[in-house]
């Protein structure tokens, strides 16, 4: 049997780590804060990459690659950027090792000190805008719609697999535009691409909103975000898209001559999602039996299990069925291990989150039926073999939709509107705090005070918020509408 997983009720953090480890998704490495993404986990990330990459390309973006290293001096060029970013990062100071003259392996060659230290990119705005200077001279060079898939490093003290690691994988989009409007449109367009991906592919509903000044990306005019709610009632920032205005163009002196032949600074956006999404996917859908994956993100969508074990007849039928399912574009495997009993396999396949299990038994086969078990609801039913491919295809869609609906319902049940600080405090202190909508006076001072008192942060000012006058829950000062608070990852 699969080793037991800590229940969510008992210890949510342990539950999460148990799933990551027992479903073989990732592990800690020999390097503090850096994870090893194991094949099962990487297969999920690959599906995310492939889908997002297609969506970026459909919206006119192309991929490129910029250096891993950033000269230290670049980081201080954009004043706000350096405040927000440049601190906890990996610093390269030397470019050579040598044999230890005392015989103790290798040591750093002191003569190979770099003139200027290099920083392993925590994000690439600086090196990219330095490069864009060479790429842009005229409005005819714009827009530039560039994306890169890369690893980045932000030295983290407290790490958690996928959710916060010192090295992580991500994509970072960097675009350059001739007008402020275009840069804003781009930032919003990508927010919507991210939201569509989260909802339609990950089955993870998200709030679309804008960050407060305090939560904004260092160097941005505005940061647009998608925010998801995890099963423990904490928010996960799942993707951000920044309108950078002319800040980086000014810092790196990137100008273009417009159609009237006048020089102007270029307008910019940047945006990213990371392997953190894998953590969000796990925490949105999984249960106490293990991983639950929406069919569109599942590396394997259907597993066929011979009951009670493989035989020539069952193998032949399974092979035929697999061909039919594959022809329909369904990702299917056959569990032909003849050492383990079906009960063990069922538990293993549940742990791995495979959306549909087909139990293929001799007796059923004679009756022309097959057992269909769905992972999301843990129900099973006997189905005629005739038409089973259609049934499975439809069921995959149904599971995808069910997981999304379930997550929307969870979010609705855990979203509260409050009017006083007492109500707010009570809401945030619940076992599952969820999203708490409350009036706020718009100042960073109040925001930080509320955070200090309750550990809740403003996740976003929703794009679709209803304008309504009210009073800030803390200061009592006027507010133009409610914002969304939550405890967050």
């Amino acid at each position: 049997m699969a080793k037991a997983i800590t229940s969510r009720e008992e210890n949510y953090s342990e539950w999460y780590l148990d799933i990551v480890k027992k479903a073989n998704l990732a592990a800690n490495s020999a390097v503090r804060g850096c994870m090893v993404i194991k094949p099962n986990g990487f297969a999920i990330w690959e599906r995310m990459q492939r889908q997002l990459d297609d969506m970026f390309k459909e919206t006119g973006h192309v991929n490129a690659y910029f250096p891993l290293f950033i000269p230290k001096s670049f980081l201080s060029r954009e004043a706000e950027h350096v405040e927000g970013f440049a601190k906890e990062c990996a610093v390269v100071t030397h470019h050579r090792l040598m044999n230890d003259p005392n015989g103790g392996g290798v040591v750093v060659d002191p003569s190979a000190k770099l003139e200027e230290e290099l920083i392993v990119r925590p994000t690439s705005e600086t090196i990219i805008w330095h490069t864009f200077r060479d790429w842009i001279t005229s409005y005819r060079d714009l827009p530039l719609l560039i994306n890169q898939w890369a690893n980045v490093v932000r030295w983290e003290l407290r790490t958690r697999l996928f959710l916060r690691t010192s090295e992580f994988l991500w994509q970072e989009g960097h675009t350059a535009h001739a007008t402020a409007e275009e840069a804003l449109e781009e930032a919003l367009k990508i927010q919507e691409v991210y939201a569509t991906f989260a909802e339609e592919y990950m089955a993870m509903p998200v709030l679309r909103g804008v960050k407060t000044a305090n939560e904004r990306f260092a160097g941005a005019i505005d940061t647009y975000t998608i925010e998801a709610l995890m099963q423990d009632g904490k928010a996960l920032q799942a993707g951000t898209s920044h309108n950078l205005g002319q800040n980086f163009a000014k810092a790196f002196d990137v100008k273009f001559s417009n159609a009237e032949n006048q020089e102007e600074y270029v307008w910019a956006s940047s945006w990213g999602v990371s392997t953190r999404l894998v953590g969000g996917l796990i925490m949105t859908h999984s249960d106490d039996e293990g991983l639950v994956l929406p069919p569109k993100m599942a590396p394997v969508q259907v597993v066929i299990v011979p009951i009670p074990k493989p035989s020539e007849e069952l193998n032949t039928k399974a092979k035929e069925l697999m061909q039919e399912l594959k022809a329909r574009g369904i990702r299917v495997t056959y569990d032909d291990d003849d050492k383990q009993r079906p009960g063990f396999k069922f538990a293993e396949n549940e742990l791995k989150g495979i959306p549909i299990r087909l139990g293929l038994g001799k007796r059923d086969l004679d009756k022309g039926t097959i057992e269909v078990a769905r992972r999301d609801e843990k129900t099973k039913e006997s189905q005629p073999l005739d038409g089973i491919v259609d049934h499975v295809a439809n069921l995959l869609e149904e599971i995808q939709q069910n997981l999304f609906d379930r997550a929307v319902r969870f979010r609705e049940e855990n979203s509260t509107h409050v009017d006083t600080f007492e109500e707010f405090q009570a809401a945030i202190d619940r076992d599952i705090p969820g999203f708490v909508y409350a009036h706020w006076d718009g100042t960073t001072e109040t925001e930080l005070k509320i955070k200090e008192l309750t550990k809740a942060t403003i996740r976003c000012i929703p794009n679709d918020r209803v304008e309504e006058t009210g009073s800030c829950i803390l200061s009592g000062k006027p507010s133009a509408g409610k914002v969304v608070f939550a405890k967050a990852y």
Copy 2:
């Protein structure tokens, strides 16, 4: 008109760099030795990645991801490995920056010194075999067939875009096996995957062979290589696959219990190809007008140019044609720029290496014909519009084959068999030295002496070499067969 490219005749190195720069493939960056891969260049790498990834998966491999950083002490665990590798690399010594107390931007925080330095991976055998220790206990865990797509850093003094850069992108396969035979089979299987990819997709013929002890990967029992010949008669090592024996398993203490329940060290292979392949692709096929791309590797296979410029009628026809070509799986664009004349566009499209250009003119259209120009031979012909999709599809295949045949012919014309050192010297000193087959006594001493005298290195002992006794061209000692010498990148 496109700026002129230096001819190969005039200066081969300049010619190469001109193509890389003028076709917008890559550029040097602000970080010495690190390149920026521009969208046109990255699109080629993406096609390589996608195809290789499919081939790795078809042969049973899965992707994973291991940390960017390697603890310094890991590098000295495998004695030969450290000799060959650990020297020129990026060393991370600190994990924090701070504001300069004197106001000069940011400086390294001296209090944030790492206890043990981290090395930016030059290759990942050490960190991966450290990890495999946790993954392998029994023969049932084997084989492990893992690949990762990653960036690596080897500090290089002399760099050349794509061919040799301090940071480059690659894939590195790392496999673990229960027997010596399986590890060897794997290394040879991958050599054949690489050769197939080079020949069938890149249209780049390669010699398959094994490296001499001196040219072997640090820590390997044997290194299998594919070697291509560039138009200047120099060899390019295009991919290597290593049989690692038990060396890394011993260094990282990775054992498994076999079917007889006895403990044994695990057997290993590793293998990689990199963005260097893009350089090889450029140098194999391109000419003095610019890039020439084999259709299977071309991000754009067909460009339609309206003649003399876009009009409603031509745009409508082009759109229809594009749909038909796309439905056939052909990557096509329409050059609808109305500012530039056809001659300019022709030169631009030639520079970019687009395999087929379709010239769509009003007069031709009335006659029901279209002009078809092929990039490889720079010929053009008028073709009936009726059946044009079939014609283009066939022509793409023909171009693919023609480029391969041309490159094979070039290699044949530039392969020499010699029997004496004088003949050898003369062959190697030619303008286009090519592959020189000669007898060698099998010692590193002779190999190094020949290198010192002629700059030629042994590229490989061909897999298919004919065993024939002879005398070493330098030492006169007996040899069991000829090996392949060349000047190399």
